[in-house]
Amino acid sequence: VGVSIADELAEERRRRRLAGDPRVTPKDRELLLRLVKGDLMDEFQAALDAVSAEDPEVG
């Protein structure tokens, strides 16, 4: 049984989704992941919290 065009398109979309944005280079990726999974998580969280703290409407 062949793969339907719908399945092909869904699989291509899935692959693109998992690959992330092609504008992000491997070097950028390394930097960004330090913010959200690495040594700078606390600083990243503090920066997000600061935005909320400065504007209670954001919360």
Partner: protein, 137 residues
């Protein structure tokens, strides 16, 4: 659809999809994008600022204008009335209320990249609304 926070947004843009998160369309509420953009555009000093300044212009563009196939920044307007009602009920500002309203409106799971980013208003609201909250590893 899955509703995500700033951490998951940065991870998926970077091609680091959390292994335990289903592959589905992603929605980043506007206030989450706002906080991410503020971190990007408003230097506060320290190592975080230096790292963000080191990003290539295309990578900064990927965060400023996310590709819709990677994630969508949710239009807040259809969510606003629900968000106001939820804020009145559970407290917190627009960010918290928008996350809960987006979860309700899309019958979606809520995914966060750090337990510190969930907060009591979202945790309490999600339980009462029957929304599932996940923290990715």
């Amino acid at each position: 659809m899955i509703i995500i926070d700033e951490y998951i947004a940065v991870r998926v843009v970077s091609g680091d999809w959390p292994v335990e998160m289903p592959v589905d369309e992603l929605g980043l509420p506007t206030m989450g994008h706002w906080r991410l953009l503020q971190a990007l555009h408003r230097p506060r000093g320290g190592q975080l600022t230096r790292i963000l300044a080191s990003l290539s212009d295309p990578a900064r563009s990927a965060l400023r204008w996310p590709h819709p196939e990677v994630m969508q920044v949710l239009d807040p307007r259809p969510l606003l009335d629900d968000a106001a009602r939820l804020a009145a009920r559970f407290g917190g500002g627009l960010r918290n209320a928008e996350i809960l309203a987006a979860g309700m409106g899309n019958q979606a799971e809520l995914w966060f990249g750090s337990p510190a980013n969930v907060g009591p208003a979202i945790a309490d609201g999600a339980v009462q609304l029957g929304l599932h909250v996940h923290v990715a590893h």
